[in-house]
Amino acid sequence: MIVADKKPVEEIIEYVKDSKKILVLGCNECVTVCEAGGKKEVGVLAATLRMYFSNQGKEDVQVDERTLERQCDHEYLEEIRDIADQYDAIVSIACGVGIQFTAEKYHSIPVYPGVNTCFLGVTEQRGLWTERCQACGQCILAYTGGICPVARCAKRLFNGPCGGSSKGKCEINKELDCAWQLIIDRLKAIDRMDLYEKLFNVKDWSTDRAGGPRKVEREDVQI
């Protein structure tokens, strides 16, 4: 999933402090799972904003709540078509994708981010999300035991651990697993240490961010 984290409320207040009618817009997908931008968080943020405006003596400011199934699809974003014009600010707490798609769709209404979008990751345990993928566009997991050195090695090394791997941990942080230790452990477990011996040559990064904004186009599913 796309993992996001809540922005400090002071930062959000700074965006909307002069607004009169605000819509806090959540998303029922990834950000709900990572507890940063779902219906529950919409309620908490809206209540916090109302309290702020009330304390400022701005009782007339209206803060409404709405959570869409997704903010990355036309169909769900259209659900607020009839009401969007009433607002002079939308605070989207979907991921950066949803925030942008909302802004694209409602061109004349300011849309502000209520979260920081962090990475593609997993729920390791309740309240702990960790990165797994950087969407480089050319998956190499078949050769690295299903563990990605691009996402999980601080130097994204392709040919084994650097000299700073110590007792299974990364040199930059003792809490952080060394990706290459994990890869080696896994290659041993699946009896494929031969894969480690293979030199991984220069990577084509043109499918990564390096190649500019990307798209996937599938004629077979286009209508």
């Binding site: 130097k155 791997s165 110590s166 040199e171």
Partner: protein, 310 residues
């Protein structure tokens, strides 16, 4: 192995002598006298001088510019290049720049993570890793082409090296990793500082079993301790460093005023023991901000005078 490049270091080791290198960390400023002073201290006791590339991710004068200063002094620099700060365009470009000054040694590294340095909020590049950089330099030299395939007019003639840390984890892949570096194009290796001699000897033995010491010159890395505090720091705080307890104790049991001398003694003893070890082709003496001690270490280790090359 016979010499393939104009590198003095390669010629020394190809002739069967033990090679000796040391290093010069560029200054955190633009005064070339600092570089020249360090180089003067080292010039008669080593075959080549490594120039570090923003080591520990702290901004310094560039490795390439410093190498040029050394070259203009008539010395033999080893251009250290890390893949942290430059993409493949900049790396190839700097290799050509170095070659245009006839700098004939390069050491390919990934580099310390930027979080250790003075710009922890910076991006890192890592377009290539150290092995891919080795492969790139060898392609430029041996095939005379850029990564993109175009021909290079007057290709770089560089003796190509890499680092190896026999002490990092997991130990079982340390020799396979060395094999990969050699396959990628490494012709010489400079190791991490050696204090755990038994572990190093085991690593060399495994490397020899795979025939790697026949394909590549292994230069054993040594660093003299200045104090017991430094020994403890290296043991506890430097990632991938293996300093056995008895070495720390030997430093700690030495009176403060004599610790520096004891640190040099340990370093000299290490070289003397490893000189006899099959598979060791030379020594890389990293006297961190203590370059003035290198001549004494080389002399006492019986590595003087340095051989002449044509």
């Amino acid at each position: 192995m016979s010499a393939k490049t104009p590198s003095k270091l390669e010629k020394v080791m190809a002739a069967g002598h033990l090679g000796v290198t040391s290093e010069c960390g560029p200054p955190r400023g633009s005064d070339p006298e600092v570089i020249r002073h360090k180089a003067e201290l080292l010039k008669d006791c080593v075959d080549a001088i490594n120039v570090t590339d923003n080591q520990t991710s702290v901004v310094r004068t560039s490795s390439l510019a410093t190498c040029i200063h050394l070259k203009l002094m008539g010395l033999e620099p080893i251009l250290q290049m890390v893949t942290r700060d430059r993409n493949r365009i900049a790396l190839q470009s700097d290799i050509l720049g170095a070659a245009s000054f006839d700098i004939s040694n390069v050491l390919c590294l990934s580099g310390d993570h930027q979080s250790f340095g003075d710009n922890p909020q910076g991006q890192n590049v890592h377009d290539l890793d150290s092995m891919q950089l080795l492969w790139t330099v060898r392609k430029m030299r041996d095939e005379g082409t850029f990564l993109g395939g175009d021909e290079i007019k007057r290709p770089p003639k560089m003796f190509v090296g890499a680092a190896a840390n026999p002490f990092a984890d997991p130990f079982e892949i340390r020799v396979p990793r060395l094999a990969k570096k050699i396959e990628a194009g490494a012709e010489f290796i400079q190791t991490q500082c050696i204090y755990n001699l038994e572990k190093f000897e085991e690593w060399i033995r495994q490397a020899e079993d795979r025939g790697l010491t026949e394909k590549c010159y292994i230069m054993a890395g040594v660093t003299p301790f200045k104090s017991a505090g430094m020994a403890k720091y290296m043991k506890n705080r430097v990632p991938g460093m293996d300093v056995p307890d008895d070495v720390v104790k030997r430093m700690a049991d030495t009176p403060k005023g004599k610790q520096a001398e004891e640190g040099v003694n340990i370093c000299v003893e290490t070289i003397q023991r490893l000189k006899e070890l099959k598979g060791v082709s030379g020594f890389h003496i990293m006297a961190i901000e203590w370059e003035e001690k290198v001549p004494e270490i080389v002399e006492r280790a019986g590595l003087m005078p340095r051989p002449e090359t044509d």
